[in-house]
């Protein structure tokens, strides 16, 4: 089986179908990450996944093959989550409506979704990456583009909120 980095190389050389293999390989991972970040919103998670794959293709040339593809993909997905959340909140601020614009589909561990709801967007991201995906502090710092110290303090704040 070809590695992600080899598939990236082949995609960049013009074999677009290889990107399809990469999409299929990581579709579940990105969807799962989206579900966890959005506290079980299936539609939102699918949007995040789709936007992430499109953005990954757009910036594929800038991928450093010395780094892990999955980690790079996670960083892009986190950024997509932030962008889409901002768009969603802008939309909600323009139109005052009683119901949310999407229906949460709590198909997974509802206990976890309820647990992370009080957390802010960045705390939720960092908490999920640290405790569910078991990323190291340095890796999270790289993914979210923050300093390690800031990541640590955000984790402590998140844990305080959850206690």
């Amino acid at each position: 089986m070809e590695t992600d980095e080899e598939l990236v190389k082949r995609t960049l050389s013009g074999e677009t179908d290889c990107y399809g293999v990469l999409v299929q390989r990581h579709a579940d991972y990105l969807f799962g990450l989206g579900m966890r970040l959005t506290a079980g919103n299936r539609e939102f998670a699918e949007d995040i996944s789709q936007q992430s794959f499109l953005r990954v293709y757009k910036y594929l040339k800038s991928f450093n093959p010395k780094k892990k593809f999955k980690q790079w993909l996670t960083g892009i997905a986190v950024n997509c989550y932030k962008d889409l959340s901002n768009k969603e909140s802008q939309y909600l601020s323009l139109e005052v409506i009683d119901e949310p614009s999407y229906t949460p589909d709590l198909g997974g561990n509802t206990g976890f979704f309820e647990l992370i709801k009080p957390l802010a967007e960045d705390e939720r991201t960092i908490f999920t990456l640290r405790y569910v995906y078991e990323y190291q502090i340095d890796e999270i710092a790289e993914v979210v583009g923050l300093k390690s110290g800031t990541v640590k303090s955000k984790i402590s704040r998140a844990l305080e909120k959850l206690r």
Binding site: T16, D17, Y19, G20, V23, Q24, A27, D28, L30, F31, G32, M35, R36, A45, E46, S49, Q50, F53, L54, Y57, G107, G108, N109, G111, F112, L115, Y131, V132, L162, R163
Partner: protein, 108 residues
């Protein structure tokens, strides 16, 4: 804290799967292809616009010369060959029409 750990442990055990992965993957590839095509189209459009603007600006810079040449040519033509040709053509046309009105004269 134990309850928190239990919820996290449970979450780790859950795997989420994207619906219709084949369809999803094809959809992504189609979107990428569409974007590439629209970029190509915009690039072509820009090139055509650039060429069109270039050609037009060249034409406009020489428009007075072209207009002068055209006017001079037209006045020469009016005073010369075209006037004779027109008179001859209309004359011939009227003669033919007159003959057509008298078929006996032709076929007898």
């Amino acid at each position: 804290m134990n309850q928190l750990e239990a919820v996290i442990e449970k979450e780790k055990g859950i795997s989420y799967s994207q619906r219709d992965k084949d369809l999803f993957s094809s959809h992504i590839l189609i979107l990428i292809h569409q974007e590439q095509e629209s970029k190509k189209f915009i690039r072509k459009l820009c090139l055509i616009l650039f060429l069109a603007v270039g050609t037009l600006s060249l034409l406009f810079s020489q428009i007075s010369e072209i207009a002068n040449d055209f006017t001079v040519g037209l006045s020469d033509a009016i005073t010369g060959d075209i006037l004779t040709t027109v008179v001859f053509s209309y004359g011939l046309l009227f003669a033919l029409l007159a003959l057509l009105k008298k078929p006996d004269f032709i076929f007898s």
